[in-house]
Symmetry: C2
């Protein structure tokens, strides 16, 4: 060994750390290069990937998709009832849920709980058991939010009577939707469906929604990217931390509601008291805005850019711009993080919800450097937050200059996940998220970080090879 480690030796170590360690222990210069075999060591896939890397059709398609994503200009346009804006809901007992499509039988606990709660909210069933029977026998139909230009956090259940945020693209008029945030504690999105949950949802539909609808009519459509950008300068990553964005929205809406005389003081007090009491209120708007920006990129043949990442608590699904509507799925991961007192990993559901649309858009875990305060909630240090954002540069098409991050000296957030780069580097998209209890109705039990599972990306790369790689 000694002869190898002369004072003249300079080493670059690629891959396994353990080859570098004895050198470092002897204070010999060793540059460490993080590397692992591409395609997780799968030689056949690696060969296909090699055909796709630098492929002119994919490069050109990604340029188009990424530019459409950058150009998209989401406006908070209004509030509408789900049944009115989602055509498929008309005349059917249809409930939407987060993640890729899944049957009632396979659903995780919190999502089943939310479906049952929504059926009772709609007065289709008068007990969770009755609702379960209807879902089982197909009387209640189920479909993914993402199939209807919608997104929902956690269980992500949207039912016909629920009010939705409507976000419209100033560029092309396209629209996306997300339900309202209920706050913390016992809430439908964590699978709770008791009387207090339904009562709150009914108040949101009957009282909160009209106030917000009239307020937005008074303000006119509100540009969302500048507001989100400002929140990124105020410690939010607009996924798990929305304290600034909620405050900025509140500061716009409350004076407009007062000046527009949209409701009496009692009604305004209830509506704005509810918003003021919920730091996460903006999350659902952020999600709809992200969905819109990514929808703009969907449908570019040959593009390896991700337009969807979504989880139903069982499976994790992604979509590529090349294949709108086509899911590439794998088992969803668990979340590493901090648990509320009395809970542990044994109580946790797998990764759940459509909120990873924010990461798909370059925010959330990708913009963690904007939100060092979040490490107090999800674990880790300020340096980890910066490191996570920097790591995402390796798997993204560019930096979104509309979303600048102070800790990067106002460089843009890494955005436009390229499925090829994920498979090539083995670096997986980082997601900041809440942890749901695995059983219905218990609620949030913690928060932390997880990643998208690699097999989604290998499957997507295989499909892209079938489409593009063979044709060359």
């Amino acid at each position: 060994m000694k002869s190898l480690i002369s004072s003249e030796l300079s080493v670059i170590n690629a891959g396994l750390e353990r080859f570098a360690e004895p050198l470092a222990a002897r204070r010999k210069p060793v540059a460490r290069c993080r590397w692992q075999p591409p395609a997780a060591g799968d030689a056949a896939l690696g060969w296909k990937l090699a055909r796709l890397v630098g492929h002119p059709k994919i490069e050109a398609a990604n340029k188009i998709a990424y530019e459409r994503y950058l150009a998209s200009t989401p406006l908070l346009a209004g509030v509408e009832t789900a049944g009115a804006v989602i055509p498929a809901m008309q005349g059917r007992k249809l409930l939407l849920h987060s993640g890729p499509p899944i049957s009632w039988a396979e659903m995780c606990g919190p999502q089943k709980g939310a479906v049952a709660g929504a059926a009772m909210l709609e007065r289709w069933a008068d007990s969770p058991e009755a609702a379960a029977r209807m879902a089982e026998n197909g009387e209640i139909e189920l479909d993914a939010c993402n199939h209807h230009n919608a997104v929902g956090p956690m269980a992500g259940v949207i039912s016909p009577s629920m009010p939705l945020w409507v976000v419209r693209d100033a560029v092309n008029g396209a629209r996306t939707f997300c339900n309202f945030n209920e706050g913390l504690g016992k809430v439908l999105r964590f699978g709770a469906g008791g009387p207090e949950v339904l009562e709150r949802l009914r108040w949101m539909g009957e009282h909160l929604a009209p106030v917000l609808q009239k307020t937005l009519a008074a303000t006119g459509p509100m540009e969302l990217k500048p507001l989100m950008a400002q929140a990124l300068h105020m410690g939010d990553e607009v996924h798990n931390r929305n304290a600034a964005a909620t405050s900025l929205l509140f500061r716009k809406l409350a004076p407009a509601a007062l000046a527009g005389n949209v409701a009496d003081e009692k009604e305004l007090a209830a509506a704005f008291g509810f918003i003021a009491g919920n730091d996460h209120f903006f999350l659902n708007i952020s999600m709809a805005a992200c969905k819109l920006m990514l929808n703009a990129a969907a449908g570019v043949p040959g593009s390896s850019m991700l337009t969807v990442m979504a989880r139903n608590g069982v499976n994790f699904g992604i979509q590529l711009a090349a294949f709108p509507g086509r899911w590439f799925q794998a088992r969803a991961n668990y979340i590493e993080g901090l648990f509320f007192p009395g809970f542990s990993q044994a109580d946790a559901a797998r990764d759940l919800g459509d909120s990873a649309i924010t990461e798909t858009c370059g925010l959330g875990g990708f913009a963690m450097a904007a939100a060092p305060a979040i490490v107090q909630f999800v674990g880790g240090s300020t340096d980890d937050a910066l490191r996570n954002t920097l790591a995402m540069k390796a798997i993204t098409l560019g930096a979104n200059s509309a979303f600048t991050l102070p800790m990067l000296n106002f460089g843009g957030a890494p955005a436009g996940i390229d499925a090829r780069l994920v498979v090539d580097t083995g670096i997986l998209p980082i997601i900041n998220t809440g942890i749901a209890h695995k059983e219905a109705g218990v609620g949030q039990i913690g928060a932390g970080l997880t990643t998208a599972p690699l097999p989604c990306f290998t499957a997507a790369v295989e499909a892209l090879y079938e489409e593009v790689g063979n044709a060359q």
Copy 2:
């Protein structure tokens, strides 16, 4: 030269950089130690300083003063008219101003303009010229805000009819005061006194103040340190950037005003529309809170800790905890920063206002690492913001764990400026501040950074030596 720079040479360079440069240019290891002769090279002062460094009476006094500062618990307690809470104003034509005391004849342009405007607000004079004559002949009396437990930003003029924020110490019941923030553009604090300025001030007294007074009666006293701490996690340094603190305050006050039914919707719309439109609205509350925390430390014999830094646009004054009410003054500096289009350094007033009380309290320039977004406004980079905060560690007694900074991995803001350390190191307190036009009424023309001038600190150290050093 060559013989000196052998490969075995390892150099520590203290002081002048130019001795290190030739070594560094030849890639020889040279550790650079920032050093300059203490007391700016004044040998007599250096000798006195040496007697004060580590002096047990001063160390013990500083411990008491610093702990009283840390323990102080400012509550936003209410809104009162200046004439009602500042006893000296009763039955006199007294106007308060920022900085150390100064005569009318010596005042800078913006402060003269603000005095004239306030005299017209009070209807003591019907023109700036008439007001000037009254100030000149002593009919209008002038005194420093700081002599009355008050602070005011920029010109800092407080007149008897103005509404003031009242901040109360939960520990000892002491109170401090600051006027309301008028927003940007033509405002009294920059020396403007035209009809629109007086009209806004009258509306603030007659309409805004009652709404806020009743709203605070509904909320009860509001703890300010947690709100300021939260704002530090949201990109504010609560001096030149108060976007988050204003938003958080707004989110607390607006729902309380609605729920408490404190005024009709039209009145609430005007009041909360005004607050929502002014990112700096919280500044004046921050200043009163800082003044309160530092007042708690004032009056500890022998303490070299600063309790006041204040500027009147001509002179910069500091006070030590050892000598409450005694000013140590020097000529105020100009500000280095960014100018609004059409303005330059030639148009600028010297450093002005009581707002450096925030830096005295460990915030503002001392907490710049919390507010990297501010570098876009005052010039520099995110790294500069961090470097400024770290530099202040060399002249402060500790880190305030109530005010943690994400970029320091949640370490506390450097706080408790020790006059001895400033003279010893030559490192001057950094102040983030606005730049006023040197003539009355033009307004703000930029923002940037400046420092407290060294002679204030050398004078304070001389006085401390007279008091303590001789007695040993």
